[in-house]
Symmetry: C2
Subunit: 199 residues, 2 copies
């Protein structure tokens, strides 16, 4: 309830459903937009319509693109036999920003979760098995989040792929670059100690 | 940089310019929207276009509405001689949610600020003086934020209105409803003590 005109009221309601915005910040954002109708609000509405018209999920890996196959899946130079499994498109973008991975991705679309009743068929796990077989993959890199659900999902996938003759790896755990020991949790320090390397 | 398609990239850039959203939360919001293209993204773009087409500032008070005069300025029942001066439309909405004020508003559009070089003519202060004279106001209630700039602006306006024969008041300062003394700053406690009331 803002006592604003009905159109503005309903815009605020829709904005408040975005992650990271609540009713109060949605009101602030809408007022900000209204004050900048020409320079910000219209371009934003147009950009949104354009993306809504063109964006779709890659049929192969689940990445967001504008065609049936995403730019990575249609780039032959990235068919190096490595498939990096991530939970979400945001994780794929994060990996790409790193710039260290030259293979292809597979976006699961979430993690297994008994609590939320999400099983393997609700994710892109069957499609991953198909790809490992069909694309002649040599390595599956599990880049799932270091959460309980993420690790459960990683173990499940490792079990499914076992016997297909590909190596299954996961991201190293340890001290982040620039990380200070005093600020790290005990689990990370233990993991980094266990995985210590000879210099 | 997200390595997302160009349209999505530019949508993220525009989203990141909203208050309360940074590059990371803009990426999350855009992914959320893309996953809900039909139910959320298109309605949001349409609501935005509609508001961009219709919203405008009330010529009298600066409130946001869809006509030359906002619903409050065109409601004769609210012409009770009281004008409540607020910094921003968001403050007007907050007052209206309270539901206790039955008069009209005047939105300054900011506060005086030597630092940002904002003088009386950059705000709606001359228009306020005109209204006090023209509408036969009996009371001007200064509902400005309890910040240094807000209080400076309040004093300036009080000085300008002095001699026009209207009473100038400001919101009471004190302990918020439900507030715990232990969590209040010293200034608020001092103000509440000074303004103590006989029960």
């Amino acid at each position: 309830m803002t006592d604003a005109p009905k159109d503005i009221e309903s815009l605020i309601e829709v904005m408040a459903r975005l992650p990271g915005l609540g009713p109060r910040s949605a009101r602030r954002a809408v007022l900000h937009l209204i004050k900048r109708r020409g320079q910000l609000m219209r371009p934003l509405a147009e950009a949104m319509t354009r993306v809504a018209d063109t964006a779709r999920e890659c049929l192969n890996c689940g990445n967001i693109g504008t065609a049936d196959l995403c730019p990575i899946c249609s780039d032959d130079r990235r068919a190096n036999g490595q498939i990096c499994v991530v939970e979400d498109v945001a994780d794929l973008w994060a990996m790409e920003r790193g710039g260290a991975f030259q293979g292809r991705y597979h976006v699961l679309g979430g993690t297994l979760s008994a609590l939320d009743d999400i099983g393997p068929d609700d994710l892109r796990i069957p499609k991953l098995i198909d790809r490992v077989r069909g694309e002649g993959a040599t390595e599956v890199i599990l880049a799932l989040n270091a959460t309980v659900d993420g690790q459960t999902t990683a173990h499940y996938i490792a079990g499914e792929i076992e016997g297909l003759g590909v190596s299954v790896t996961s991201l190293a755990q340890g001290v982040p670059i620039g990380g200070e020991l005093d600020y790290l949790d005990d689990g990370t320090i233990s993991a980094a100690l266990k995985a210590r390397k000879t210099l």
